[in-house]
């Protein structure tokens, strides 16, 4: 089997892994002494696939010959699919050649468990070693920690990679028991804890010794499948928030479950992936990381699922009328960030522009605030937008995105009208002649 065929099998097998960012580490190539490659903290997207997702890394499996049999996974042992295994050198050569043509930002290397976790981990290490030490590659590498591999092997892997991840996959122990009998919550959380610990140690080492080997400088991430099991948004969001706090993760990714197996324990193969739910979870994730929200502000025991019509921030705003309206010319950054239509960038710009003078609505528009949504929640010098009537209904209407409007409100709905019936010619004439 040549590299072309292997690539075809092993990229198809890796496509359900969503973590494809190249962000989190800034590294000048010349300063780091390698011979090719650098890394930008903001991350660089090299292309966008047909599903609209960013492609930044060469995302492949080392092998898809798995000894495990997890029900939700395409690579499960009992599934009848073509199998392939790269050699470490093939991966390294492919990476360098794609990298030189600027197709990719680096390598995302994962693997099914071949023979046993230690063996698999050793092969991943060998691949990364060739890239880093023989080819002097200083570009981005994301490596999957193989649960169950020895601590020393995982540590070595982390010293060669920029980012490491362990996938939680299913958001609860019960679901794991049912669908991934070979995995357990502890088997997943253990390597995660180890990586967190190593990153922390590494931070203190780097203070003490300038040349201490870096351990996963771009941090750690994980991924959860949404919609394969009955967990609610509330459970998932709380778990996410706990992972950020307890394990200091850089990112938690969500992956809408795409049915790949016909199994009575799983949603039917005809089920559409819950893309809107995934989207709402990402919005909430953003609110946790950049907007100062906590998980329990967004959902609680009584409200276990996100509102499908509007995003979690708008939902929060509509439920907290006591906070609003916010005075643009004096509100704190934290408060500005709570206003629908004001994002992190426009909040920063408002703060900056405020130093140079008073802001009015025209200025806000130029700054980039989405007034269509924000106007219901703000005042400039105590004044509302001229002619604006605030009712919960029209606020809600303004907050619904065009996409949601199409999806949920199109059937039988029509343009809102002041008159219930069609205006006739006679009505118009009456109006003009003053009879009405």
């Amino acid at each position: 089997m040549d590299v072309y065929d292997k690539l075809k099998i092993l990229s198809a097998a890796a496509k359900y892994d969503v973590a494809c960012t190249s962000s989190g580490v800034d590294r000048s190539g010349s300063a780091s002494g390698g011979s090719i490659g650098n890394a930008a903290a903001c991350g660089i997207c090299h292309t966008f696939s047909g599903d609209g997702r960013c492609v930044s890394l060469l995302k492949i499996l080392y092998s898809n010959s798995c000894i495990y049999n997890c029900a939700y996974c395409v690579n499960r042992a009992t599934n009848d699919v073509p199998r392939a295994t790269f050699t470490p050198r093939e991966i390294a050569d492919l990476t360098i050649n794609f990298y030189k043509r600027n197709y990719i930002e680096g390598l995302f290397l994962s693997s099914a468990v071949v023979k046993n976790p230690d063996y698999t981990c050793e092969r991943l290490i060998e691949t990364l070693r060739i890239l880093r030490e023989e080819y002097g590659f200083t570009g981005y590498i994301h490596a999957k920690a193989i649960p169950g591999a020895d601590d020393l092997l995982l540590t070595r892997l982390g010293q060669l990679a920029d980012r490491m991840s362990v996938n939680i996959e299913l958001p609860s122990q019960e679901s794991l028991n049912r669908l991934a009998p070979d995995k357990s919550k502890t088997a997943i959380l253990r390597p995660m804890g180890l990586i967190t610990e190593r990153i922390k140690e590494n931070c203190t080492d780097l203070v003490k010794y300038k040349h201490a080997p870096k351990f996963a400088p771009a941090g750690q991430s994980t991924q959860m499948i949404v919609g394969a099991t009955p967990e609610t948004d509330y459970t998932i969001l709380n778990l996410t928030s706990a992972l950020y706090k307890k394990y200091g993760l850089k990112r938690v990714f969500f992956s809408a479950y795409v049915p790949v197996a016909d199994n009575p324990l799983l949603p039917a193969v005809t089920t559409r992936p819950p893309l809107l739910r995934e989207h709402r979870l990402y919005q909430a994730d953003w609110l946790l990381r950049f907007y100062g929200f906590t998980a329990d502000e967004l959902l609680d025991e009584q409200h276990q699922s996100f509102n499908p019509l509007i995003d979690p921030k708008c939902n929060w705003a509509l439920n907290h009328p006591e906070i609003f309206p916010v005075e643009i010319n004096s509100a704190s950054k934290e408060l500005l960030l709570r206003v629908p239509g004001i994002g992190v960038n426009s909040a920063m710009r408002i703060l900056r522009a405020r130093r140079a003078g008073h802001l009015d609505y025209a200025a806000l528009k130029k700054i980039g605030v989405v007034l269509k949504r924000a106007q219901y929640f703000i005042v400039c010098d105590g004044k509302l937008t001229e002619g604006l009537k605030i009712t919960p209904d029209n606020a809600l209407n303004a907050l619904i995105s065009d996409n949601c409007r199409k999806t949920f409100l199109s059937e039988g709905a029509q343009q809102l009208s002041l008159f219930d019936t069609q205006i006739t010619r006679e009505d118009t004439v009456k109006c003009l002649t003053g009879q009405m």
């Binding site: 609209g52 043509r101 522009a353 003078g357």
Partner: protein, 269 residues
């Protein structure tokens, strides 16, 4: 302080030339109706004022900007000069007028028409430059690597350092077709030169093999159940496609299509 005047400043298109236009507007205490580069000048009813480029004057203006405003504002002016905003020359002139009056604070006046328009132009350029960090594709011909780009803004000064650092042991050229310029790198120095045209050489076997592997990877990585052409188009507008090997088929499909592509698949927003 400045009167609106019905005159058009015409200069040679260089940065120094633009600085001299600014010098002139301070001498004449006026804001011209337009500032245009010789090559783009079309006679109008306004009186033409031809501005000669004088390095002494341009240096004085630069020093003035640095003294009265800030280094950040000076950089902003340079960045503005490299944008593709059609009225960038006049915007820069007005920005400097405002800066001389208000000082360093001018950089924060985001609600002002001039500042906000120039900020948008500069942001548009940075965004395009960032796109090209990912969308520039290199082909390898023996010992050299070549990339052809067609940016709207002049982005070579921004993307240059990134690629020179990334491929520090290689020799390469990035050819900017729109601006007839090329960045030439040999370890370890680079320069941007004027270049009129460039014909791509025949590709070699290796090159073709990696391109086809890349195309196949691109096709394979997409999840069919999640297909979302609109989202792809928002992130990767069509004007980039012609230089991306993975979009070859999509581009030829578009060309074969009789209907204008815009009505079919224009981005939603």
């Amino acid at each position: 302080m400045f009167d609106r005047a019905d005159v058009v400043y015409v200069y040679d298109g260089s940065f120094q030339g633009l600085m001299c236009c600014i010098f002139e507007c301070f001498v004449r205490k006026e804001t011209p109706a337009a500032v245009v580069c010789e090559a783009d000048y079309q006679p109008t009813l306004n009186t033409l004022v031809s501005i000669p480029t004088d390095t002494v004057k341009s240096k004085r203006v630069e020093n003035g900007i640095l003294r009265k405003t800030s280094a950040a504002a000076m950089q902003f002016v340079r960045d503005g000069y490299y944008t593709c905003a059609p009225d960038k020359d006049l915007l820069i002139l007005k920005f400097v007028q405002l800066g001389m009056e208000r000082g360093a604070k001018v950089m924060s006046m985001l609600g002002d028409d001039t500042v906000s328009a120039l900020t948008k132009a500069v942001m548009n350029r940075s965004r395009e430059a960032h796109n090209y960090l990912g969308f520039a594709r290199f082909s390898i011909y023996g010992e050299v690597m070549v990339s052809v780009i067609e940016p709207k803004n002049f982005v070579l000064p921004i993307i240059g350092p990134h690629f020179c650092d990334r491929y520090r042991n290689e020799s390469f050229m990035i050819y900017d077709k729109t601006h007839s310029a090329a960045l030439i790198y040999r370890p370890y120095e680079w320069e941007i030169i004027h270049i009129d045209s460039y014909t791509e050489p025949e590709t070699q076997d290796d090159e073709a093999a990696y391109r086809s592997m890349w195309k196949m990877f691109y096709e394979t990585i997409a999840i069919a159940e999640r297909e979302n052409p609109k989202c792809r188009m928002n992130h990767m507008p069509k004007r980039f496609w012609s230089r991306l090997p993975e979009m070859d088929e999509a581009v030829s499909a578009l060309k074969g299509n009789q209907e204008p592509p815009h009505s079919l698949e224009s981005p939603h927003r």
